[in-house]
């Protein structure tokens, strides 16, 4: 007989015996009434038993708490978890006050030491993971004994998870993602950032309870707030890497570049604010000063001081910059939907990791693809080299043309570039492919309406009509296809006014704008086709320019400006108005490049 059946039988027997007892005590009692009494007795017995069990459990817990000092949820006894004590007035438990700020300071020092160690071992993935684990444990234990550790523990766990996911997941499985640099920066600095964040939280906790910070804490707080992002990181990053190991030591370079960009932006921000304050005070002292011109002058002076050494050259540079400093804006020509494009395409079978045996060639092919709807025929020169930190190994492009070839006049062209290193490789590198496209041609167009001298009544009637019909939106600006570079040009009084009445104060100006992702190497020739126009400086109509610094994407090369002194006869006094389009041509050299990470493992046998 099963246990359940046995139990049920026993219970039924007990009930039967109890009914007999009740009826014996009270012969008038019916069986139903007796059953009710029995059920109440059983219920009461059950509750009594439950209460006894609860009491026993509570007693056990009290005993355990007394022994370990924690609740059953492993929380400190006393105050339950709540949000950080910003603005709270609760008292921290005395048990954890003794941790003080020393914990946070220790964590900061520890994270900085780990940063140095990782720099030394060059971010080997496994060792990095091990160090992160150890560090995470230290952090976890440290914050466990701080006031209100709940959020801090969560932050530690989050930082560890982020570090793990980035280094072991994202950077491993998708090493070439577009946010690679950001991920690497996070991977390098996450523990230091966490330590600083915990320190700041600790400061708030301490101050909110009315306690004082020690001198060391104040000093560290000042450093953290004022200089940690500007001094501490660059200070560490200046250490050169001199190790050749199979590791991800380029992370430091990438993080350094990212930080340098931030530093440069912050420096520029500082410059802008200091110039602004300086020019504002100058304007207060001398109200006739134009603040915008003052800001521009300071920017030019700073630019020239960084470009040239001698004071005489600085003055010359300033004069040149001021002379040509009219930025002309242009827009993409919406009617040209197929611009010329060139890009490197890394194939699916690109050998990102190779095992290299001495004497065997290492070859890295990449495709240079060109979309050429206008069937241009630029000359292409391709070079390559291998880099790792400060190490630079030249490469050579193999093949019959050795990377020098002319694009055929076809709408689509594709060329395979094979790069071979000139030296032995062992470890991880970046292959940098550079392609210089020579003698590219770009054309821009600009529209203007010539009305001559007209009465006010005519102008009031017709100028709105002309603007509406011929210059909707931004079509008063010069337009060019969205290709590598374009020449923006304009003339008018002011420059952006497309209605030309006469030559009075009509300025002609142009700018070469880099709209691609590469660099402008040379401006070989520019020409503004304005037949019949007279200007006071013919350099603004045509010429060439030496590009001293290769402008990055979005940078402008300012071309000479001038005044228009005479219009062609047919545009001087039209009976109504003449609408005309002008073209400008730019001939230039452009460089595009790409970087592909590789890993080479030397094999001895």
């Amino acid at each position: 007989m099963a246990d359940d059946e046995q139990k049920e039988l026993t219970q039924r027997y007990k009930r039967f015996q109890r009914i007999k007892e009740l009826k014996a005590a009270d012969p008038a009692m019916t069986s139903a009434r007796a059953l009710e009494v029995i059920r109440e007795e059983e219920r009461a017995a059950e509750e009594k038993g439950r209460a006894a069990r609860d009491e026993e459990k509570a007693a056990k817990e009290r005993e355990k708490a007394a022994r370990t000092g924690t609740t059953k949820d492993n929380k400190p006894t006393g105050k339950s978890f709540s949000w950080p004590s910003l603005g709270s007035s609760g008292n921290s438990t005395t048990h954890h006050e003794s941790s003080g700020m020393g914990v946070y300071i220790t964590l900061i020092i520890l994270s900085v030491i780990v940063l140095l160690i990782k720099n030394y071992i060059a971010y080997d993935p496994l060792i990095s993971l091990l160090i992160s684990l150890v560090l995470g444990v230290f952090f976890f234990i440290a914050v466990h004994y701080t006031p209100e550790p709940g959020l801090k523990i969560s932050l530690v766990l989050f930082a560890f998870a982020l570090d793990f996911v980035i280094s072991q997941g994202l950077l491993y499985f998708i090493p070439e993602s577009e946010i690679k640099n950001i991920l690497i920066t996070i991977h390098v600095f996450i523990w230091v950032i966490l330590a600083v964040a915990l320190f700041i939280m600790g400061v708030f906790d301490r101050l909110s309870t009315g306690k004082h910070l020690g001198a060391v804490s104040w000093l560290l707080l000042t450093l953290v707030i004022g200089f940690v992002l500007f001094l501490v990181f660059p200070l560490f990053l200046q250490n050169p890497l001199a190790y050749q190991q199979q590791s991800h030591d380029q992370y430091f370079q990438i993080a350094q570049q990212e930080t340098s960009k931030i530093t440069a932006s912050l420096a520029e921000t500082k410059n802008v604010w200091s110039d602004f304050i300086s020019c504002t005070f100058d304007q207060i002292a001398q109200p006739t000063i134009d603040r915008a011109a003052c800001l521009e002058e300071k920017k030019i002076t700073r630019y020239c001081r960084t470009q040239v050494q001698r004071d005489a050259d600085v003055d010359k540079c300033i004069a040149e910059q001021q002379e040509t400093k009219i930025a002309v804006v242009g827009i993409s020509d919406a009617t040209i939907t197929q611009p010329t494009k060139a890009e490197f395409v890394v194939g699916d079978y690109f050998p990102r990791k190779t095992f290299y045996r001495q004497g065997e060639p290492l070859r890295y092919p990449i495709e240079l693809k060109l979309e050429n709807p206008r069937k241009l025929t630029p000359q292409v020169e391709v070079t390559c080299h291998f880099t790792r930190g400060d190490i630079n190994i030249p490469g050579k492009v193999v093949g019959t043309d050795q990377g020098n070839y002319q694009i055929l006049p076809r709408e689509h062209s594709s060329h395979i570039i094979i790069c071979e290193p000139d030296g032995a490789l062992d470890g991880t590198y970046d292959i940098i492919y550079n392609a210089t496209l020579r003698d590219l041609q770009a054309k821009s167009r600009l529209q203007r309406a010539f009305i001559g001298a007209k009465e006010n009544a005519w102008k009031e009637t017709w100028i709105p009509k002309i603007m509406d019909a011929h210059f909707p939106g931004s079509s008063y600006l010069s337009q060019a296809p969205e290709e590598f570079a374009r020449i923006n040009f304009a003339f008018g009084n002011p420059l952006e006014n497309p209605i030309i009445e006469s030559t009075e104060n009509v300025v002609l100006s142009s700018t070469v704008e880099n709209v691609g992702r590469g660099k402008i190497i040379a401006v070989k020739n520019y020409e503004l086709q304005l037949p019949g126009f007279s200007v006071d400086d013919t350099r603004c109509l045509s010429g060439s320019l030496a590009v001293s610094t290769s402008p990055r994407s979005g940078d402008n090369i300012y071309l000479p400006s001038c005044f228009i002194t005479a219009l062609p006869p047919e545009l001087q006094a039209p009976s109504e108005y003449v609408f005309k389009e002008f073209e400008a041509t730019l001939s230039y050299d452009y460089e595009i490049s790409t970087s592909v990470p590789i890993e080479v493992e030397a094999v001895t046998s």
Partner: protein
């Protein structure tokens, strides 16, 4: 039987009601010199075509249709605003002869066609298309005649006068031209040496712009009326319309001390009119 008779009556009624005077008689009763009407300028279908290809030729044919009640003269049509690099049109200006207005003898008005020859250039670089906006501008001269019967009463305070009643203010919806007399105010200074002053309000109701308006002959009955434009010297018989496109003509006449009588006030105006219309040509690859 009764039903058949009823049906017969209904059919006869329908036939009788449906009958009306012929178009000739109806036209003879219609006064074209009312309301607003002006000369229309439209392009013929496919001239120009909706899409033009580089290097091709095309025609722009303008249909000039005089729907006003007056002849138009000295007409000029111009094409303005095309860039020769993309579209070359010749001639850019053409004139047209007198176009008769709508009348009993020409109830449809007179129309003419003006042809412009065009050739297309090339697109910029490898652009897909280019849209050229331009204006069709027309200029012509025309007239407008105003006439209405008015009551003249120099003895407005007489107790017994079985004549007409003076209406001091009257409104009109036009005289079949873009320039219209919209209101007339009659002011009579009664008594010996009574004088009547008529103020005619002119307004441009067309889609174009009125430039200069010249006063023509004005008569009250068979007698000449002296008129001038408000705000201008009496000797100056013309006015240039400004942005408001309206003006007031003031005509005065000594009417003497006579019983009230009805007579016709007539005024003729000659005006120059400009009309412009935005159009576009599309050059496609």
């Amino acid at each position: 039987m009764r039903c058949t008779f009823l049906l017969f009556v209904v059919l006869c009624s329908v036939l009788l009601l449906g009958c009306s005077t012929g178009p000739g008689e109806k036209a003879g009763q219609y006064n074209f010199k009312q309301g607003m009407a002006e000369t229309q300028f439209t392009f013929l279908e496919n001239a120009p075509p909706e899409q033009i290809y580089p290097g091709s030729t095309f025609k722009i044919i303008v249909n000039v249709d005089n729907q006003a009640a007056y002849d138009v003269t000295e007409g000029i049509v111009q094409i303005i605003g095309l860039d020769e690099k993309y579209f070359s049109v010749a001639p850019l200006e053409q004139s047209f002869n007198t176009l008769a207005g709508r009348s009993l003898t020409a109830p449809e008005g007179e129309k003419t066609f003006l042809e412009f020859w065009g050739s297309a250039g090339n697109l910029f670089e490898n652009a897909d298309e280019y849209t050229a906006n331009f204006f069709l501008k027309a200029h012509y001269r025309s007239t407008v005649d105003f006439a209405d019967t008015l009551c003249i009463n120099s003895r407005m305070y007489e107790t017994y006068d079985a004549g007409c009643k003076v209406e001091t203010h009257k409104s009109y919806d036009g005289q079949g031209a873009p320039l219209a007399v919209t209101e007339l105010d009659e002011i009579i200074a009664p008594g010996d040496g009574a004088q009547a002053e008529f103020r005619l309000h002119l307004q441009n109701r067309g889609e174009g712009t009125v430039n200069q308006v010249n006063l023509g002959p004005a008569k009250l009955g068979s007698e000449e009326l002296r008129c001038h434009f408000q705000g201008e010297a009496d000797e100056q018989q013309f006015i240039r319309f400004d942005e408001q496109q309206e003006a007031t003509v003031i005509c005065t006449k000594y009417i003497g001390s006579l019983n009230s009588y009805s007579t016709t006030l007539s005024l003729s105006l000659v005006y120059d009119y400009d009309y412009q219309q935005q159009q576009s040509l599309r050059l496609v690859k």
